[in-house]
Symmetry: C2
Subunit: 206 residues, 2 copies
């Protein structure tokens, strides 16, 4: 995108900004400020202005940000001005919950297939999908254009499945298992780790 590499930590804040802006939009607001956005997110207004300035000029001094415009710009930067096909591996309790999660809609992601290696789960209907055999994953992905996967398998199986995903051409993996995946440098991994959030909050508890 840009000649200057933006720090990953700044990139990671853009989805937070986008979520807040979308919320404001739903509330019927049209204009916001870095102060208001910062107040909602617990981030200083200076930090928000500095973060956004890495990607361009999105507001005029003194008039604030047009919410819809800024949200659209952030969507473009994050490449979620389109819809990404996502596969889900794991059709256990967690897989069911992820498949039924209502928060993906209008945010750039659509589950297109669900896989498992458990014969008792293969063929089962989950959230409108027939669970497929994980062995078919390689052929399915290579014949399509899926580059995003969610991994909802037990920790003991996560690395093996991750290897298969990488081999099949997946470039970003959201991992729900409490382990650190080993992947090549051109594959991105993020983790759902509830403890990070719990520890963040206990800081404020005595």
């Amino acid at each position: 995108m840009s000649a200057l590499k933006v720090p990953d930590i700044v990139v990671g804040r853009l989805p937070l900004y986008l979520r807040s802006l979308s919320k404001m939009g739903q509330e019927g607001k049209e204009i916001t400020s870095s102060q208001e956005l910062g107040g909602r997110l617990g981030i200083s207004s200076a930090q928000i202005r500095k973060d956004l300035s890495q990607f361009g000029e999105f507001g005029k001094q003194g008039t604030g940000y047009n919410i819809s415009f800024l949200a659209d710009q952030i969507k473009k930067i994050l490449h979620v001005d389109r819809v990404w096909d996502v596969i889900l591996v794991g059709a256990g309790d967690l897989g069911h919950a992820v498949a039924n999660y209502a928060g993906f809609v209008h945010r750039g992601f659509k589950i297109v297939a669900i896989y498992d290696n458990d014969q008792s789960k293969i063929g089962e209907e989950v959230s409108g999908f027939t669970v497929r055999n994980v062995n078919e994953l390689m052929i399915d992905i290579q014949s399509g254009s899926v580059r995003v996967a969610m991994l909802a398998v037990p920790a003991g199986q996560a690395q093996e499945v991750s290897d298969t995903l990488v081999e099949a051409g997946i470039k970003s993996i959201l991992c729900y298992a409490p382990i650190s995946l080993k992947v090549p440098t051109d594959v991105y991994v993020q983790y759902i780790d509830p403890v990070l959030h719990l520890q963040h909050m206990t800081y404020y508890l005595e």
Copy 2:
């Protein structure tokens, strides 16, 4: 803790530092540097030194950080040098997955009870717990010292359950539902939002 309020965004990075330090410890390492820690986390070494300096002096110039010492200090700062009792509300697919999540161990949290409002789930055994009626939650919590809750109920029920939790004295809520809870200012809420992670990664995909 300190007279100067540390920005929330800095507090939010401490659990990341702690997780990396614990991982390094498990790998048998004893000493690290802000460069190494930053490399693992995609955060600049300057940012890490600045963040840590808000809480004290944890390393000597040129010799790096003692991993075990720094981890212990961060645990104290985050108040996870103890174990917090946590209740889980919601015994559906997601509740089952959260109850069975192996990542809580040795990180400061222990589930002590699971609740649901569905008669078909109450009495069920989940991960060693008998699911209790959510109506009993108020009495259970008030008679104990639980201040942390995880909310794994459908979005349509999350606010009502959250109100009950707050009334019962819960001060921090980890919410898995894709909604924004309304809580008093002395109650902390964090959200598990997989889309934030997915959007972070698609930034790097073309």
